[in-house]
């Protein structure tokens, strides 16, 4: 039970990050490899504002604002000028942005890991199992955010426009959709989700380094591909699946050292068996 709860909450973190990858891929048609580093940015913002104000709620709000703005600025400065350029150029730029963010963080905060003291919510006992309240918060808040995002994409005019741009950018433009604005909104939403992910991540592992975003970033990207990149429910499914697998593997002493190998092994199997991912849709190329 504890393992399942832990797995689901780690899965929620992966899913939140994976959503950023998958939405940007679906709408801007690029792999934003700097996305993982937004988590790191969010973590340092939480650290600094917590030190300055002592108020965790202000810290969380500041982290969401800074990450969202960072996402928009990165898109404007680094990716927008490359609209229409070869995918390889965009990919390399994204990797460059990733290094840039890590280096700047290192300049400001140094490369040593720093501990962060988030409020401890303690544990509660459900049916004889002691579960950390932070795990439950992650699970519930993560679930609410994902439900909210699903409703937003399905039911609002902007959400529909995002789906339309994802399918056919030119046709969306003919409907009067400002494609650049939709891409900007996508980056903003993805980065705000990453801010939440960084908070939940710190609640589990309260220490920060400039490369903090790399591993969860890559895991979440894996989750997005397993679920079917470009698909929002796919990212959620992939994230939760990967989180569960990770926690279950870690709980079994005999296979816990191979956890990461198993996770990436799953990716390879999915790529061999169903390259478009579990919920990925095959899109017919238009002539």
């Amino acid at each position: 039970m504890i393992i399942i709860a832990d797995g689901l909450s780690l899965g929620a973190i992966y899913a939140l990050i994976a959503l950023g990858y998958t939405m940007v891929y679906g709408i801007a048609k690029m792999l934003n490899f700097a996305h993982g580093d937004i988590i790191m940015v969010g973590a340092y913002v939480i650290l600094t504002t917590l030190q300055m104000t002592g108020n965790p709620y202000i810290a969380i709000a500041a982290s969401i604002v800074v990450c969202t703005v960072a996402g928009i600025v990165i898109e404007r400065l680094a990716y927008k000028p490359l609209r229409g350029a070869s995918p390889l150029a965009v990919l390399i730029t994204a990797i460059g942005v990733s290094f840039l963010l890590q280096s700047v963080a290192q300049l400001i905060y140094g490369s040593k890991s720093q501990a962060i003291a988030l409020p401890d919510f303690g544990k509660i006992t459900i049916a004889g199992n002691h579960i950390a309240v932070s795990t439950l918060i992650t699970l519930i808040v993560g679930g609410i955010i994902m439900a909210g995002l699903t409703v937003f994409v399905k039911k609002t005019s902007t959400g529909r426009a995002m789906q339309a741009v994802s399918e056919d950018r030119g046709a969306a433009l003919l409907m009067g959709v400002n494609v650049n604005r939709i891409i900007m909104i996508t980056f903003a939403i993805g980065s705000a989700l990453a801010a939440f992910a960084s908070l939940f991540y710190l609640m589990q592992i309260p220490s920060i380094t400039p490369t903090l975003g790399s591993m969860p970033g890559i895991k979440a990207f894996t989750a997005a591909v397993i679920g079917g990149i470009g698909s929002i429910p796919g990212a959620m499914l992939g994230g939760v699946l990967l989180g569960l697998i990770e926690k279950v593997c870690l709980s079994i002493p005999a296979i816990s050292p191979y956890t990461t190998a198993i996770e990436f092994g799953l990716l390879i199997i999915i790529l061999l068996v169903k390259p478009i991912g579990i919920l990925g849709k095959q899109r017919r190329e238009k002539v």
């Binding site: 789906q163 046709a171 969306a172 433009l173 003919l174 009067g176 959709v177 400002n178 849709k281």
Partner: protein
């Protein structure tokens, strides 16, 4: 005054010049058709008007306003829209959501609801399949949807790019009937067609496009009887 005026339009794909300085106009209340063979540049012309392909030289004027450099998404707001070649409906959205996308620039919710009701009456099949995923419709039904979707923005000028392409004869007739009907309700039409005979039969005026240049223009009925046009495009 012309509603839409194209002057010395030139479009390039890389080094290749697809449109070699064409000029034409569409007056308010007209049906104008642009006919020509495959690769003559009809679709390129249409796409460049809406800002989907960049214009190298020349101007596009709509309602007296120079829109050559206006981004495509703003052109829709000015009252001009296009049913693109190959329909390009949003395959993964429902019929209803496709129509809502067509009304993206309309802010009045009541108006949108009324328009959808009207379009579902005009195109019965869309009314019956409102909640179906658009990709599951047949080609003809998808063309109906593409036209209905374009009508949702209440265009003053509706451009249609090859609306009869790949359709059964029954649907081809239907499509042309809809265009005639919609024109009667007060919309100016610019129609690009390979089916020259059909297009000329409903149009007021026509231009013949040949490898990026206009080779012939005039009243549609005159072109229908023109010996060269007959030989090249009407299969007579």
């Amino acid at each position: 005054m012309a509603l839409l005026e194209i002057k010395n339009l030139e479009v390039f794909y890389g080094m290749i010049q697809a449109i070699k300085g064409i000029s034409f106009e569409v007056n308010e209340g007209e049906i104008v058709t642009l006919i020509g063979a495959n690769g003559a540049g009809k679709t390129t012309t249409m796409q460049s008007i809406m800002g989907l392909v960049p214009i190298k030289r020349g101007t596009v004027t709509y309602n007296g306003q120079d829109i050559t450099k206006v981004p495509g998404h703003k052109i829709v707001n000015l009252g001009m829209t296009q049913v693109p070649e190959g329909r390009r409906i949003f395959q993964e959205l429902t019929v209803y959501d496709n129509l809502l996308m067509g009304a993206y620039t309309v802010k009045d919710k009541k108006q949108i609801k009324d328009d959808i009701d009207e379009i579902c009456t005009r195109f019965e099949i869309l009314g019956q399949r409102k909640n179906q995923i658009a990709g599951t419709l047949s080609g003809g039904e998808q063309q109906m949807l593409a036209m209905g979707r374009a009508m949702m923005s209440h265009p003053k000028l509706l451009m249609l790019d090859e609306p009869s392409m790949g359709l059964s004869p029954l649907f081809v007739d239907k499509v042309f009937d809809i265009i005639k009907d919609y024109h009667k309700s007060g919309t100016t039409i610019l129609l690009v067609e390979q089916n020259a005979k059909k297009a000329l039969s409903i149009a007021d005026r026509a231009y013949v496009l040949e490898t990026g240049s206009i080779s012939l223009s005039g009243k549609a009925e005159d072109l229908l009887n023109n010996e060269d046009v007959k030989k090249a495009y009407l299969g007579a």
